[in-house]
Assembly symmetry: D2
């Protein structure tokens, strides 16, 4: 029976890589459905994403590719299946709701394991979709204690990604490092403009004519992780910061869902502080 796989290769650039890789595909009689490569000249790094179909063992393909690529190569042969995600949110429903609707619609190639809130504001909404909701309130706890409880819960699940759908608490390095390249956040500004608290208020005070949103992987540096997707909308002098916020929500949810769709389809490579999105 035919197998379909996404092949992701991330290694130092070397002459003949495309040749050697496509030779493996050819000799295994695979069809290439799509193929994208990129070489980052500055760092001399090679990235490739191919979708192949044919009769083959994914592990064998992986081993053959390892044999002909540089030793440092990070290679994945992924047979597509729904990824498991955990959602985290606070009080605002627009980003979370958009993911729930898309999920209910079958549009997301993902299974939502649960939603974790630090308030119970969103419980009703989540329950409407028959998805487990856990509230871990932070009252009376310091940041470390709260996060420990959250991590305890998270670690009960198998998952591919944690999606922060407007989770309004700052995460500690401990948390972030525990789930490297697995946490996706939506920041409510066009990063790197307006880092930090209440970006819409900052944007309003600065008198900008455009506002935006940024979906990014979360790293140690607050609001500084690799950017996956961004978008913007025009604003004007008639809008107070709350109106900017309202308008911005449409961008936030679209950008987060776009970024989520990229990672669920294995289209994103992280390269230092940047992403390659095929």
């Amino acid at each position: 029976m035919e197998t379909k796989a996404r092949v992701l290769i991330d290694c130092n650039d070397a002459k003949g890589l495309v040749y050697k890789i496509s030779k493996v595909f050819f000799e295994k009689d695979l069809n290439i459905d799509s193929n994208r490569e990129f070489v980052d000249k500055e760092s001399g790094r090679f990235f490739m994403r191919s979708v192949v179909t044919g009769i083959f063992e994914p592990d064998e393909l992986l081993n053959e590719l390892k044999a002909i690529t540089p030793e440092d190569a990070d290679i994945k042969v992924i047979v597509p299946k729904p990824k498991k995600i955990i959602l985290m949110a606070t009080k605002e429903s627009h980003a979370l709701g958009d993911i729930l609707i898309r999920h209910a619609d079958g549009e997301l190639d993902a299974e939502i394991e649960c939603v974790i809130g630090n308030h119970n504001t969103l419980e009703e909404l989540v329950r409407r979709f028959d998805i487990p909701f856990f509230c871990i309130a932070a009252d009376g706890m310091n940041r470390e204690e709260h996060e420990e409880k959250v991590m305890e819960l998270i670690n009960k699940f198998e998952f591919d990604f944690i999606v922060l759908a407007k989770y309004m608490r700052i995460l500690t390095p401990k948390f972030v490092n525990a789930y490297e390249e697995k946490i996706i956040n939506i920041h409510h500004s066009f990063l790197p403009a307006f880092i930090g608290a209440n970006p819409y208020k900052q944007a309003h005070e600065r008198g900008v004519k455009i506002i935006g949103a940024t979906a990014h992987f979360v790293t140690d540096d607050l609001d500084e992780g690799p950017i996956i997707a961004q978008d913007v909308i025009p604003v004007n002098h008639r809008m107070g910061w709350r109106e900017m916020q309202r308008a911005g929500r449409d961008v936030e949810k679209v950008v987060l869902s776009r970024a989520l769709s990229y990672v669920l389809n294995d289209r994103v490579f992280v390269h230092g502080n940047k992403t390659i999105v095929f």
Copy 2:
């Protein structure tokens, strides 16, 4: 004979302002071609721009409007005529060239008094349009000495606005304060992201997915003046910073020309660090 005038009113808000102002227009039998108002609630400031036609003396209209508005009111009755502008540039021709072409085409309601460069790179281009070009090189001078020579030249002209069409030198407070609300700059980033030198390199290093440009009035605070217009374009991982720069030029020139068209048509109010653009 009919006169057409743009009436600009900027004053503290008070009940009945629209009534009192429109009463003046009505009693003078003026037609209102267009009318826009805005009240900034935070500061309690009222802004209005009306275009009126009729048989009237602009000075009389001004006086009648002063009589019925708060004492602090800043009122202008402008009979449209081409504004005089001085262009300043360094080596890049895209922003300057776009203004020259629009001017040659009669699209700008402006007379270009001259172009001042700190290099002579652009002299040939400017001369093609029969516009005076002055090169004031900064070699062997400190910032103050250079600026003094530039100001000496500028002050020989009557002008309404100085347009920095990619003039790549930092201006001193002395210069900026001498021409308050008269200097328009194009900054090659989506401010307030990437303030300072080589924004495209900064943008590339940060791995953003969108770049932009910002036209603003120049104030003491470098890259912090009131924003007049902004726009953006998408970029991707395949683009090095030079390619971002090339792509960004199209946004820069369009944004600068848009901002210029706003100020030439008296559509911009400066309010603290922001603008109202009608």
Copy 3:
């Protein structure tokens, strides 16, 4: 106690209208929160939307405004309260789901009376939000018979607007005329390009580089009613029509919700085949 009202005036232009209207506001001691006017020169039609607050009887205000405006004037004094809407949909959930989420979030100033489907595909989703769902299948009926049943149901409700959230049946003139200026549709193309069936397939075949969506009032002329809002996104050669469709859904839902928010806030005037959106 203070009353807030939206005053909408649509009448033939005449000298002194702004003066006379603002005089009424002034003499009733009303505050003007916002004020927008527009005169369509071609047709000589005047449009004004003011938000006023003060101590007044809406009916009295209406009468006083009628007394000083041309006879043909269409004037509304609206004390804001949630509008009642009926949603209609077929099988796709993105546009409907977006409205449901916004409604659940309290973002829409509206009460959803019910959702009417011509299939029961969306029943489960709608029930999650505790909103009545009625399926009126068209099986075995001609268009007129089916519509009659739909109208019977609709007419049991009081409502301000019918929102077609991807309702994929063509409406007869009888239906459309029964609810003039009350039916809002989202068309899945950048009208007037790709009128009719499967616009994404048409767009793909034509090889366009941008696709869009259009929210409009429904009139007799299929896909020809007054446009309320439009937006677009870039596409490329790699996308088949189904991928364009998927990408287009994000635009459709945002555009429909934007248009809906305009009409719920009484910001839209219909003027012949166009809209004025303040």
Copy 4:
């Protein structure tokens, strides 16, 4: 000495194409600077653009590639050098001027052979750039006679592309077929909306909220050739059609220059009525 070449391959899809092509590159010891492929599933057509550097004879490379690709393959090995272009225009200067400025700036990898106008309105502008201008007025001639004179002139030049920078005459099939896939036009609407005369007037009458421009290859079907680039800007009810036209010019010139840059860099494949733009 190192040679750099752009390799363009357009052929029926077959298993192993990437392997065979990259094998040729590898065995000739070429570096691949960039590499993009696309297979159109519907038509089963394969497109590839590679930029390679190394020590090689372009003709030899071409022959080796021909030997391993299907017989129908259309293969080009292009050593980059400035392409020769002929510009045609009527009275409006914005699109032409933008190309002239970019050319003067060295931004376009092109030599402008001449500008041909059917009026002499633009002569002065063109002469400023020391570029030959020929006016072939159509007065007293029928379409065929006029075109014959234009073709006579064109055929005196060697050229790669004819760029219609707002040339407002309809071309006959004879003309179009004589220069297949060599004529690039900018149409002042978001095609396929508003085909034909005065699209801005059409757009204004239809009350659209967005207008656009389309750069395309010219074919027999008026305004129906393969689209190379498109872009849009928002408009509103306050704009008459002349203001839409003015605003649209900024889009027209940017879109035409973008399309021109694509073809000058050999980034465009024509495939039936569509383009693949790498």
